[in-house]
Symmetry: C2
Subunit: 635 residues, 2 copies
């Protein structure tokens, strides 16, 4: 088996008619916006205190810690995003902000490498005593990802040096040796960060620590002995499974507990499996992947069916209006998918990665870049959501910021780092997972390979790839699960394809122009009949997008519409949002006449012909508050 | 307008092929069973402590108060039920138990009339200081109902004398005079009890106090000034609306807050409106009735859409699997309906009364009489209900008793007192609301009127009524909303009918035999399209019964069935439960073949013909745990 080779964030630059919008928005507007928020300079946004906490810890100002105990991680994700943004636009302002904040972090770090501002400022005697809920390792993980991003994007190793010291302290603190603590993070994250750092630096100690945390999880007592854990566990939602600590990974057959934690855990575990080549770890991850994607995932790529415990519930329990489907969890699913693709380039992973990125991830941010969803429901009636207890996490509108603001900077780093999701590489074989326009440059054993891709996706199934480089490089082109008539032409002549696991391999020749075309008509999807909430319903998919109906286009009472599955779906190029494809579903709605005063009536009240205009789910709630619906009644 | 005349519990004795079963069960088995539970002598049942609390308060034993602060009311409801039961079976054992417990209560009562054991034993300095949540007036109300039941059923006024003293204390405590407290009960109940006591004794002070409480509700500060209320109000579910204290009754246009409280409040208010004849109070109640029955009531007669706050939510929000639909709330709805029928004999009230009694009330008790539902969902998948936070009030199985055990004795008193729901009377006009076999005897101004009714309901639409008594008495026979071809024959000859508000008036002649017949075929019902949860669904009704599908008859995956509304429903006489009519719905279910590993697929996976066997909702969960479904997908 050819070994997977790391693709750096600098190898692929996205340049795409669809994604340039969100990425430029992120680079030019969101990165500066979030910097203002993190510095508490944005009116109307919940105060973050994230920068201030570091300044206080650095002795640069007086004050008390503010925000959640994991507030440091918001800043870390911003540093990661800002570093990536420089690859798109070299901004003095952003470079200055990065320099400034890294200097603050250097000063905030303690002599021994410790750097968590919550414990430094609030509970200096309580370091490493609340591993279950303290988030020290989680924050360190995000700062380590930030350090790798800084290093790769700017060449500066200042933050990496800070993190080397920090990781050294963690290595000293955790382990099976004398005086060490046998435990594992309460919120996984550092595992995948350590693997990033290992790949960026080649230093084995990062990999070893990641492997230790992955393999140790589920052993007792770990953090299960801690008073904080025992206190939290009084709620059934905060037991060992909340932290994926109910079993060792090879004994976990279902995804349990806090969905973001689970996704980050599986991502880190897949990173480790790739390096160690351990087939039992790979098999465990494949089983967990099947469980998530065949039983516990929303059609939008969302995961986490319940707000309480922000958790997975049980197989096929996928309520559309009370779900959690946190933006961060969908990002985590995309990250995990990318690692599975490195382990085994199979389109069942890339289909899900794309599903998450184009739907539940992208819905997390408004078109203005300054409003965010934490929870991404598949159905909402604003008045009901505002009233009901079981919908109290569901916001009818995106908000400017959150007290617990993990999602906004997570989206930003994902958008600015999108290039890393386009390809994976195994020896001299390249796998193109997403038809996103880009320019890529890889150093292969045979020489420098350059790819230039222009794409009509996600609106039309067409991409053109120009190659310059040595002979013998293979490009595996993903055949999306929704693609029909998938074809590849080289310089205008059709190629005979022999697909492997959903990828069509093409042997590249210098100067070759490869045109990928496929049809992707709007179509109805149905859910597995075990999904009670979606029985007798259908939703619309077109290409990577799941569609939804909004009150803005259709008026209220969306749920009363019944789609006629035998009638064709009409696609229409719309000027909305700068040009999208909308879809019209045909069916019926009730004649409301007989219902004015009746709550129940003998069946047979009339129905009248009706249609619903649908648009991609990620665009919902950009035109004011209203009902929204993904799964329509259907017959 | 002819004045409504009180019908006493002794006037009507139910003798009915359907109801004799549950009533005999209640009389012979449940009353003794619940006595054992209340005395903590029933193994496996949650300890009640209700009798023990009174014994301790009476100085007859040592110990501490046990159970909820409203534990006294469980015993009071049992006394009411036991008193009624003596009308069916004069049991030495029950008489003895009643004598014994009344003696204990006499001793437990304080010199000044105070008698709430929670405050006597636990918080003697806190009397009348937590009107919002203390339940002193609620418990007194139930004991007053018990006293009226004792008086009417046994002729003993011992408990009534106790309650006279207690009410005198309450009258001294509450009011607008100097040194009095301007307030109203935190949990309504005493209002309707006072009105019962007024009718039973003719003592105006009962009516006056009831009217004061009804009219004062919603004024500030009332109990809103109390620290306990302010503390509870920190949760948005426990504000003024929880207690229907958000507005005065004439300004309440929607039913809000705790559903049982609301039902008891409206019941008491209707009692007051009948006595005072105030048209504005009647109008307020009609508006509230419309709101509840046209927008906030389940098809089973359940009310209360949410467990948190046990409350009404908003119009048309009627989730089937996370609902509360407490047995007590449906009993309250039936009680309110009965009062509305006294105010205005219109079948829109009796249709709802019957719906509640035959469905959500009767489902509260198992066929064995010893297991109870508190929450009566319309859809359940046991594994999901056990897991999900928002279903934590929903039990997949009836239980032997509850820590908070308001429902079980409430059902028992309703079954043993069912006779009071059959008729109302206005001058010399009788209104028969329910076709339940019975023997009735009323003293009218013209002389003694005796009715004897035999009925084939609820399985067939036929009842025969024999009349003996003076000429000129009118019998108004209800035309149920589901009845077709409603006919009345006198001595075999058809009568010409001139229905008024859903009732067919017949002038009775001595010795006349009146035969009521109507068809009531199984039929599909649909819900108002504003009810999102029921869109594109249908349920089956046959006569008074709403039907459901159970896993016991149909296997799992009930929600995947789609009923074909154009196919006839097949009725079948079944030997189940001693003889019932089951209904078969015809439709389709998914071919599960394509779904083994797929969560989402393009629409068009095959469906195969299928049918569901349905039985009356009230019988669900009498054959073990399993899925249950009322609203089926339909096309």
């Amino acid at each position: 088996m050819q070994k997977e080779r790391e693709i750096s964030i600098k190898d692929v630059r996205v340049d795409d008619t669809f994604w340039n919008g969100p990425i430029q928005n992120a680079v030019e507007k969101v990165v500066p916006y979030q910097w203002r928020v993190l510095n508490d300079r944005e009116p109307g946004a919940v105060p973050s205190c994230a920068v201030q906490n570091f300044k206080i810890a650095a002795g640069l100002m007086e004050g008390k810690f503010g925000g959640f105990r994991f507030q440091d991680s918001d800043l870390a994700k911003w540093i990661e995003a800002a570093s990536y943004s420089l690859l798109y636009k070299d901004s003095e302002e952003v470079r200055g902000a990065l320099d400034e904040i890294v200097s603050v972090i250097e000063k905030a770090q303690r002599e021994d490498g410790y750097m968590d501002t919550y414990f430094i400022l609030e509970k200096p005697q309580e370091r490493w005593k609340d591993i279950a809920h303290g988030h020290e390792l989680y924050c360190a993980g995000h700062m380590l990802e930030a350090a790798v991003a800084c290093l790769q994007a700017t060449g500066s190793d200042r933050l990496m040096k800070v993190m080397e010291k920090c990781v050294a302290l963690i290595r000293k603190t955790f382990g099976e040796g004398e005086g060490q603590m046998s435990s594992y993070p309460g919120h996984e994250e550092i595992e995948l960060a350590l693997m990033k750092a290992y790949r960026a630096t080649g230093r084995e100690e990062y990999k070893d620590l990641a492997e230790y945390f992955i393999e140790n999880r589920g052993t007792e007592p770990g953090f299960l002995r801690e008073p904080h854990f025992k206190e939290a566990q009084k709620s059934r939602w905060f037991g060992p499974a909340y932290h994926q600590a109910h079993a060792k990974i090879r004994d976990q057959k279902t995804a349990e507990g806090h969905a973001v934690r689970a996704m980050y855990f599986f991502t880190g575990a897949a990173d480790v499996a790739l390096e160690t080549g351990d087939p039992t770890l790979k098999k465990a991850l494949e089983d967990l992947w099947d469980n998530v994607t065949q039983r516990r995932m929303y059609v939008t790529g969302g995961v986490g069916s319940q707000g309480e415990g922000e958790c997975f519930t049980i197989d096929f329990d996928l309520p559309n209006d009370t779900c959690y489907t946190e933006t961060c969890a969908a990002i985590g699913l995309a990250m995990w998918a990318l690692r599975m693709l490195r382990l085994d380039p199979d389109s069942r992973y890339s289909d899900v990665m794309e599903r998450a990125l184009y739907n539940n991830v992208l819905s997390g941010i408004a078109q203005d870049g300054e409003h965010y969803f934490y929870v991404n429901p598949l159905q909402i009636e604003p008045d009901v959501a505002r009233f009901r207890k079981d919908m109290e996490s569901v916001e009818p509108n995106r908000v400017k910021w959150f007290g617990c603001a993990c999602c906004p900077p997570n989206i930003t780093r994902t958008l600015c780092g999108l290039g890393s999701y386009v390809y994976t590489r195994r020896g001299d074989s390249l796998y193109q997972h997403l038809y996103i326009g880009n320019k890529a440059r890889f150093e292969t054993e045979k020489g420098t390979a350059q790819l230039s891709c222009t794409s009509s996706m996600p609106w039309q199934g067409k991409a053109e790839i120009t190659y310059q480089g040595p002979q013998g490089v293979q490009l595996y082109l993903r055949i999306p699960e929704y693609a029909e008539d998938f074809k590849v032409e080289k310089d205008g002549a059709p190629l005979a394809l022999a697909p492997e696991k959903g990828y069509a391999p093409v042997t590249l020749t210098d100067g070759g122009v490869y045109t990928v075309t496929f049809a992707m008509k709007a179509r109805y999807l149905e859910a597995n009949p075990h999904v009670t909430e979606d029985c007798a319903k259908a939703c619309v998919q077109r290409g990577p997008f799941i569609y939804c109906a909004e009150e803005a286009d259709n008026g209220p009472l969306l749920a009363a519409f019944t789609a006629d599955l035998s009638a064709p779906l009409a696609e229409e190029e719309s000027g909305l949002f700068g040009g999208i494809v909308t879809v019209k579903a045909t069916g019926t709605r009730p004649d409301m006449g007989p219902w004015e005063k009746a709550l129940y009536r003998p069946a047979g009240a009339g129905r009248v012909p009706a249609e619903l205009t649908l648009l991609p789910y990620f665009l919902w709630n950009n035109r004011g508050e209203g009902e929204m619906l993904v799964w329509m009644n259907a017959r």
